[in-house]
Symmetry: C2
Amino acid sequence: MLPLEVLEQAQAELTDWQGSGMSVIEVSHRGKDFVECAQRTEAKLRQAMGVPDDYRVLFLQGGATAQFSVVPLNLTAPGQLACYLKTGAWSGKAIAAARRQSVEVEVLADQSESSYTTLPAPGSFNPPSDAAYLHYTPNETIGGVEFDYLPATGSVPLVGDFSSTILSRPLDVSRFGLIYAGAQKNLGPSGLCLVIVRDDLLGQARSNTPDLFDYAAMAKADSMINTPPTFSIYLLGLVLDWVERQGGAAGLGQLNQAKAAALYDAIDASDFYTNPVTPHARSWMNVVFTLADPALDAVFASQAAAAGLTNLKGHRSVGGVRASLYNAMPLSGVEALIDFMANFERRQG
Amino acid sequence: MLPLEVLEQAQAELTDWQGSGMSVIEVSHRGKDFVECAQRTEAKLRQAMGVPDDYRVLFLQGGATAQFSVVPLNLTAPGQLACYLKTGAWSGKAIAAARRQSVEVEVLADQSESSYTTLPAPGSFNPPSDAAYLHYTPNETIGGVEFDYLPATGSVPLVGDFSSTILSRPLDVSRFGLIYAGAQKNLGPSGLCLVIVRDDLLGQARSNTPDLFDYAAMAKADSMINTPPTFSIYLLGLVLDWVERQGGAAGLGQLNQAKAAALYDAIDASDFYTNPVTPHARSWMNVVFTLADPALDAVFASQAAAAGLTNLKGHRSVGGVRASLYNAMPLSGVEALIDFMANFERRQG
């Protein structure tokens, strides 16, 4: 979901960008206009996230799924130890991908026994000091769990996959070695992946790492070893302008907390709807719930769609209902869902 | 460059796609509407290029530069022999990337001694029968050379990087093992890379190949292991509709031949402009030329830009002038350039 005002701006200038007579889709990525657009976009991201000066911002392709392999290629030698927290489907994929790059993976916390309905407590896991990094997934979209704290890792670099939660609330970037995020959920269109990496972690990539996936090579080339996803970078810039108009990460954090609280309150107040997640681990971005009778799941989703509430079907691996409350979802959208849920429950009574 | 009518269609439906009330940028890639869009786009591409049934069409990310590494990861074991033709900057990059994947590279023809102004004659190179493939770059954008024939390789799979020449003229896909092409020059926006691969070449990827770069895994998932570059796939579909309206590859081939012939004729008729390329190797897509006095290069480019003729600066590595005549460039655009060239020459006289 994208803010309508962002889409309308993109629409207005799609055939003639900045008076160039060309579409931003057509302009050369090496031309002055686009280079400036990319630089402005990076500056806006740094401002919005408070990225310290000793971190590089990269615009990559392939989504977070590519980073599952690219992170170990850049930060480990074959056989080196890397620690992971397994808290759901996405962190599970990251672990599997790392193992295929011959990383010695140590899973410090595995929540599969809880069916991923809770998260490890702060301080309950400690990476050995010789680990290359600790990787975690701050928000798991399928289980609907989200860390409400930053893992402490001592001197070991912390790596986070922020694809589904970037810029949804304030974040202390200086606590991380590396942050990556597919842009398509909170920041813009698909096909663009952000990497924010601390300078001292650059330059350790394995010798067989393709240039395009070598953070140091991409940093040196300002993310333009080859043609970058230009339209996506442009659109990210428009989204970041919108983020600023919402009060930045702080403003969005307040809004997202209010949206999530309203929906969880409605679920908890009902015997008809149930959310399985421990309260401290509940996601602000993806609220999962089940109905009293699983046979009603499909009816709920179809009637909701008819009422204009789309994309509520739970992930195919777990069923149930999932409401995704990414940044562009307004509070009114959540309120409309809560009203629909109350009416649906009444109709079943 | 994109056809204006394609941009106008994308603009008209940018905020409300197919009456969905959502932008195509926002819709879920797993939703019925987008899955159908991707299927239609693939069908249109198969139709336009005449892709045989025993080939798979993949929509990938990372451009041709990623494929420089991904091709050897998929088609060779470490140490295996692969043959390359070195005909310019892009094939040179492909060779360097393959070597980083521990491929035993044999360069069957190296045109660097000619400063890349000609191409090897048909039959002058023959890959050993145990080579994994023969890789070549049908069109080199910097040198402005283009093969006017398909290399014969016997039973060795032929691999071609068609980024700058795909769908610019008819092509016998059945002669290839694998074709790849970044979409941004002839087919649409940046951030999308096409791969057309013969079925029997799937399933040989090295064990450390990330899923996202494993052709067989991507084929199995219909190119949707993760979120694909949805807007780019949609836009490719619009471009392919436009290709059909131009008479398909045959119609575009006639047009592109006429565009190139007009410009080369004007260059050859002048003592002021010079194209260094052997006639049979001259590119239809990228026409490079130099001026009688290299000091005039910058003046030419700046006056041309003032006249609305943009992107004429030669590549920074070779200087001079380069006119790119990709599909979306109309004959009238080439005629305007030829007029400008004649006037510029007169003014210098």
